[in-house]
């Protein structure tokens, strides 16, 4: 090959590779991105039924129930306007507590129960997942509902 042909081959190869990669990345992206919904959105039917998504809110006090001695549990995620019951089986994080912010990954069943396969409660006790904090604030005119047990906002 002449240097010119070689350069053209190289450029074509690179462009081809990059566009293939971009195409595949876009597809992977569309298939695997998870959206966030709060309980009000779920109640309004905005959340999909067949796709995994992130549900965020507070764990409503007095709703955490377990079958004694088993890993199965239920609790209610709330944004203080609407509630979504959640079912989960497994070990929950250290900071999973009533009246704390929580994000659950999973699917919404036709019975309206969210079946979680992963529970995230971040590891700082004052930590509130920002998306949860915002979702709740928006519903209360920009302020967090007054509740001595809910400490929102970042640690400094």
């Amino acid at each position: 090959m002449t240097p010119r042909q070689r350069r053209i081959a190289l450029v074509v190869g690179i462009l081809g590779g990059v566009s293939l990669a971009a195409l595949l990345a876009t597809r992977a992206f569309q298939d695997n991105v998870m959206f966030f919904f709060d309980p009000s959105q779920v109640a309004a039917g905005a959340a999909p039924l067949d796709k995994r998504f992130r549900l965020g809110g507070m764990v409503r006090p007095g709703t955490v129930a377990r079958t004694a001695g088993s890993l199965d549990m239920q609790f209610v995620v709330t944004d203080f306007q609407r509630d979504v019951p959640v079912r989960y089986s497994g070990v929950v994080p250290d900071l999973f507590r009533e009246n704390q912010g929580v994000v659950a990954h999973g699917k919404l069943g036709r019975d309206g129960i969210f079946v979680a396969d992963e529970i995230l409660a971040k590891h700082d006790e004052n930590y509130m997942p920002p998306e949860v904090a915002r979702a709740i604030k928006e519903k209360h005119g920009g302020v967090m509902p007054v509740n001595p047990d809910i400490r929102s906002g970042p640690r400094t």
């Binding site: 992130r54 088993s70 400094t156």
Partner: protein
């Protein structure tokens, strides 16, 4: 008094940085010899001043000076002294001071070790580093003063986050920062070369050891963080594609591309523009990482501190640095000419593929990390990107990358001469495939589709790395540190791939509900909960379990997972029980009281996982060895 002094010397350090930047850049531009000569003393002054400032903060922590807000927020009288020192970088303000100190330490190293460079060039490098120091010192002083007083003083501190009370995590930020900031040196060399319009092989040779050492530190820093997440967070894996992990991984990918592209620029005078752009990109991604971590825009385990003003400052700084460097590049680009050609099978080609694939991988990670931010900013909804996206998108460019590396290691500069090495290439490939087959059939159960591919590529690369050193040794040619370091780094990458393949393919994990005396099965392993007892530590009390793990009736491990409750922050912490072994880790973490006498237990067995971090460490050591090559210590006038 001491905190005020610390604050004051930090202001003086800013003045020294301004002097360093001004004299370093203006001196060579105006041809003033005296100005050039004053640059080095300015660096030394800045180093002494920032060191004093850092020492003042350490002193405040050791003395439990809770009249300092930052100390009160991050320390406690019950905290052991070692962790009081580590608490200096336990949160935002102190991390920034540490960052500034590491930057000036790198600058000092450049100042002291660059005496064989032309004085004008060295002064320009130091000047650019001075500009960066100005940015960071201003940032610290304006938005994040660690010496701010608390009035009245707190009776006791709020304590260091218990998660950070760990030896690996005490060392993780300094090393990671050393890597991040080290990329600023490569950036400064690139800027100095552009200002001077000097694009010969020499500048690449000068920049190479610095870039390699920075890369090595970044490697160790990331590995330490990953190890910490493994045993301290109790998540049990080595990588989670957490946005902040990505923030450190993107500069690493670009730095890896950069050290390879610098090799081509030095040896063959090619890829000049590309190398310059990579140097700019690498440091920009370091800054972006800081922005992502420190502004709190990301939902992440690391987002402790969120402050829009800080984010805005870093963003502005980022724009100035990237914009300035790219403008410089645009101005100088017409001077860049590469004459030499090379064959498609030459080493240059393989390094070109290396660079393209690494950048594609970095771009994929970047897209995943930024997509949630962009989607949120545009009001398209709050989304998150997880491993379902990252895993395939990252493997796509990196699997061919490994194959290219395995072949490329055999190729020569300019002319590939792969024909002469056909025997070695095919030999190592066949041997690699045989090893993969043996591992898939013999070692564990439950291989996946990519398992043999991963094993074969890893083994192929591992073996290929040794071919050239052995060949040289046989022919009694010199084995330079550069060659040995390169062989070690690439062999480690092969080992890394093998271990990751094993972990991803053969990990068994299950959540169990166990009462004392009960046992549960996890793969072929049986976990039996023997006891649960209360215990007390220096600043926490704990519930300690004993779990005996057996495989086929034979006892393989006794684990002691703990559930700790730290007194000051009243924070619960899981301390996993891990039996580390060269062939596998047996892991257990205590969950919670399930009622009816049962506790939840997270049980995992991961084969070969320790090699993930060991290989990363060896890779870094390979880099350090290569950077010690005598070639780099030659003066400006000698040509290789």
């Amino acid at each position: 008094m001491i905190p005020e002094l610390g604050h004051f010397v930090l202001v003086l350090a800013l003045a020294a940085a301004i002097a360093q930047a001004f004299f370093g850049l203006a001196g060579p531009a105006l041809g003033r010899q005296a100005w050039i000569e004053v640059t080095r003393p300015a660096v030394i002054a800045q180093f002494v001043l920032v060191s004093l400032s850092l020492a003042a903060l350490v002193y405040a922590f050791v003395q439990n000076d809770f009249s300092v807000e930052y100390v009160a927020a991050n320390s406690n009288t019950a905290l052991p002294v070692g962790y009081r020192i580590a608490a200096v970088w336990g949160a935002h303000e102190g991390s920034l001071l540490l960052w500034a100190w590491i930057l000036v330490a790198w600058t000092l190293a450049v100042a002291l070790l660059s005496r064989n460079l032309p004085p004008e060039f060295a002064a320009r490098v130091l000047g650019v580093l001075g500009l960066i120091a100005i940015g960071f010192l201003l940032f610290t002083l304006a938005t994040s003063n660690p010496f701010a007083r608390l009035d009245p003083p707190a009776p006791d501190g709020r304590d260091l986050n218990p998660l950070l009370q760990d030896p690996a995590l005490a060392a993780h930020p300094p090393l990671l920062y050393a890597g991040y900031v080290g990329l600023s040196v490569a950036f400064a060399f690139a800027c100095a070369a552009m200002i001077e319009g000097r694009f010969d092989a020499a500048w690449a040779r000068w920049a190479r050891p610095w870039t390699t050492v920075a890369w090595a530190m970044l490697t160790v820093g990331i590995a330490l963080g990953s190890w910490w997440a493994y045993y301290e967070l109790g998540w049990g894996g080595y990588w989670f594609w957490d946005p902040v992990e990505n923030a450190s991984f993107m500069p690493w990918l670009v730095a890896t591309a950069l050290i390879h592209s610098l090799a081509v620029t030095e040896k063959r005078g090619l890829f000049k523009s590309w190398t310059l752009l990579l140097a700019i990109l690498g440091f920009s991604l370091s800054l972006l990482g800081t922005f992502l971590v420190r502004s709190g825009v990301l939902v992440s385990v690391h987002s402790f501190a969120a402050d829009p003003a800080r984010g805005l400052f870093i963003l502005a700084f980022l724009v100035i640095i990237i914009g300035g460097a790219l403008a410089l590049y645009a101005w100088r680009a017409p001077l860049l000419r590469s004459e030499a050609g090379f064959e498609l099978t030459a080493r240059e080609s393989f390094l070109l593929f290396n660079n393209i694939l690494l950048i594609v991988a970095a771009a994929a990670v970047f897209a995943g990390t930024m997509a949630p931010l962009i989607s949120d900013a545009l009001g398209l909804g709050t989304l998150s990107v997880g491993r379902q996206y990252y895993d395939p998108v990252f493997l796509l460019p990196t699997l061919p990358l490994l194959a290219f590396a395995a072949v490329g290691l055999h190729s020569g500069w300019k002319k590939g001469r792969l024909g002469q090495r056909k025997r070695e290439i095919i030999g190592t490939l066949v041997l690699g495939v045989l090893i993969a087959v043996a591992l898939v059939l013999g070692a564990w159960e439950g291989a996946k589709v990519l398992t043999p591919v991963g094993f074969a590529l890893g083994a192929w690369l591992l073996l290929s790395a040794f071919v050239d050193p052995i060949d040289r040794w046989r022919r009694k040619l010199s084995l330079t540190p550069a060659i040995l370091g390169m062989a070690l780094a690439h062999a480690s990458l092969g080992a890394f791939v093998i271990s990751i393949t094993a972990v991803e393919s053969y990990t068994v994990e299950r959540d169990l509900a166990l009462a004392i005396g009960e046992s549960g099965k996890v793969g072929n392993f049986e976990y039996r909960l023997v006891s649960l007892e209360g215990q007390e530590g220096p600043n926490y009390d704990a519930l300690r379990g004993e779990i005996i793990v057996t495989e086929g009736g034979r006892q393989v491990a006794v684990l002691h997972p703990e559930k700790r409750n730290y007194w000051v922050q009243q924070q619960q912490m899981t301390e996993a029980g891990i039996d580390m072994h060269l062939t596998r880790d047996v892991f257990a973490a205590l969950g919670e009281d399930l009622g009816a006498g049962r506790w939840s237990v997270r049980a995992q067995v991961r084969p070969l996982i320790n090699y993930v971090w060991l290989a990363a460490l060896l890779m870094a050591i390979g880099g350090i060895i290569a950077a010690c090559d005598r070639r780099y210590r030659k003066g400006a006038e000698e040509t290789p």
